[in-house]
């Protein structure tokens, strides 16, 4: 009962602490608010960049054209051989008939020209469409496929793909580093702000020590205060970032400049970002307070 009562009274005490030192609390809350807005903003940018690159990478395909003389057995054998390679995610067979049909559908001209050919004299080639697991190794995989017999051509957009993958990787890394760096900066900034605000409560801490409070006891209310401040500080960033993003999404119709760059639906990520911002605010606030009090516990 006793520890619980102490915990409870310290928890209530922390609310008093926030409001009794309101102007100082506002300083800490504002500091958290500003940095969390930046963090939230960068999280949205990161998620969208990642989503965009993932979408593009998903579309990258190796096309394997087969020898015209390949029999059905040969085709099965080739398929098996390709499947046995690593880094193969999905393989689909596209017979020349299928290709013909889909081309006929595409335009009237193709339709009239291609309808003259029968199955035996179809000028098109059977092909496999292959998706890979790791886009960075697409070149190696294509080379391996090239060595299989009865394959005439392997295409995957050489050159341009490698460049694109490299750029995407770099962009991803930069956005990750930016988010992590921002969180660290936030932690330091908040810790220092709280340290300054606690300066004025040095006397309170000193007297607590003198009347026989243990260090853990003294820290408790400050710890809770940090949590409260972190929580309050994350409300405005959540509102700005999540509503702002939803609004932007609606205004832009879900895409940025062109149809290729699609934005993530805010419904899918808003909750995650909300939770992330609250957690960052609370954890950083609590740790900042915890660290800030330490200095005064040596009297």
């Amino acid at each position: 009962m006793k520890p619980f009562r102490i915990l409870k009274s310290n928890f209530l005490e922390s609310f008093k602490g926030v409001f009794r030192n309101f102007s100082l609390s506002i300083a800490s809350i504002t500091c958290i608010t500003i940095t969390l807005i930046l963090v939230g903003f960068s999280i949205f940018v990161t998620l969208n960049v990642n989503n965009f690159t993932a979408e593009i990478e998903k579309d990258m395909t190796i096309v394997v054209f087969l020898d015209r003389k390949a029999s059905d057995e040969d085709i099965d054998a080739i398929k098996e051989k390709i499947e046995s390679l690593d880094n193969i995610k999905k393989i689909t067979f596209n017979s020349k008939e299928d290709v013909k049909k889909s081309m006929q559908k595409e335009s009237e001209i193709f339709n009239t020209i291609l309808s003259e050919y029968t199955e035996s004299n179809n000028p098109l080639q059977d092909s496999f469409l292959i998706k890979v697991e790791d886009i960075n190794r697409i070149g190696d995989t294509a080379n391996e496929i090239q060595t299989i017999e009865k394959i005439t051509l392997v295409k995957y957009g050489e050159g341009s793909v490698e460049e694109l993958v490299k750029i995407f990787d770099l962009v991803k890394k930069i956005t990750y580093i930016a988010v992590v760096a921002l969180v660290i900066v936030t932690a330091f900034l908040i810790s220092n702000t709280i340290k300054i605000t606690i300066q004025s409560r040095k006397r309170e801490i000193e007297i607590r020590r003198l009347v026989g409070a243990s260090n853990a006891f003294i820290r408790q209310p400050f710890f809770f205060e940090g949590i409260i401040i972190g929580f309050l500080g994350s409300i405005i960033p959540i509102a700005i970032c999540c509503f702002g993003y939803s609004y932007l999404y609606e205004r832009l119709g879900g895409k940025l400049f062109t149809e290729i760059i699609r934005l993530i639906d805010p419904k899918a990520i808003n909750y995650m970002v909300m939770v992330a911002l609250v957690v960052i605010g609370v954890v950083v606030g609590a740790l900042g307070s915890f660290r800030a009090v330490r200095k005064y516990l040596k009297v």
Binding site: M1, K2, P3, R5, I6, S9, E13, R20, R203, E204, E206, I207, R208, R209, L210, V211, G212, A213, S214, N215, F217, L297, K298, V299
Partner: protein, 232 residues
């Protein structure tokens, strides 16, 4: 073993000042002891060693069975729960009322609200401030503020009441009032009182044990002592 023992205590501060030199002192339960001496004589250092604001450079200090010299920072609270400390500058929290300031010292024990109330009122009654519960410290006179801090010091029933120049900021009349309060605590509750002071009148009037410190040495230790100018 006595309640308080100093054994060959030396204290040298970081800046090289030697404050205490081979101090040996024993204080038993229920005593009322004045520690007197000029500014810089080392009497404040003795007080600070008692509540472990400072650690001795060498030698041992025992308070209620606790070896203060060996007490780690994280365990200091165990010592301080046995003590009440009163300062020259009261050290009250300006944003708390008289009642809250005293109850503040009980918070750490996790007592029931009714128990906190009972003991807080008891302590305030002992110092004669039961009618000022809701006042804030800056609404009180100096002597009253000091009595609040005494109430805070005794609210947890300490074995020892340590006073560091408690009358230093008060006029002679108020000083005597405060001394009456401290004496009553010594008489009524049997609390051991150790007081550092350089108030000649008080020492002479109270006729208690007097320990004289000069240049870090105990130069005199007499029962029913007086403040003799020739000794210091």
């Amino acid at each position: 073993m006595q309640l308080i023992e100093f054994k060959n205590v030396y204290k040298r501060y970081q800046n090289g000042v030697s404050a205490l030199c081979d101090v040996n002192l024993e204080i038993s339960k229920g005593e009322f002891v004045f520690i007197i001496g000029e500014s810089g004589s080392g009497k404040s250092t003795i007080i600070k060693l008692l509540y472990r604001q400072e650690k001795p450079t060498s030698g041992e200090v025992f308070v209620g069975g606790i070896n203060v010299a060996r007490l780690r920072n994280g365990k200091v609270y165990k010592l301080r729960r046995k003590l009440g400390v009163v300062f020259q500058d009261y050290k009250l929290l300006p944003k708390l009322t008289v009642y809250e300031n005293v109850a503040f010292a009980l918070e750490i024990y996790g007592l029931k609200k009714s128990e906190v109330r009972r003991r807080t009122l008891e302590a305030l009654e002992q110092v004669g401030l039961k009618d000022k519960l809701r006042s804030f410290p800056d609404e009180l006179a100096g002597g009253e503020q000091q009595r609040v801090s005494i109430a805070r010091a005794i609210v947890n029933n300490p074995k020892v009441l340590i006073c560091d120049e408690p009358t230093g900021n008060l006029d002679p009349k108020t000083s005597m009032e405060v001394m009456r309060v401290i004496e009553s605590i010594n008489n009524d509750l049997g609390t051991t009182v150790i007081m550092a002071t350089h108030d000649e009148k008080i020492v002479n009037k109270m006729k208690k044990r007097v320990v004289v410190i000069d240049k870090g040495l105990v130069v005199d230790d007499t029962m029913k002592g007086k403040y003799k100018n020739e000794t210091i």
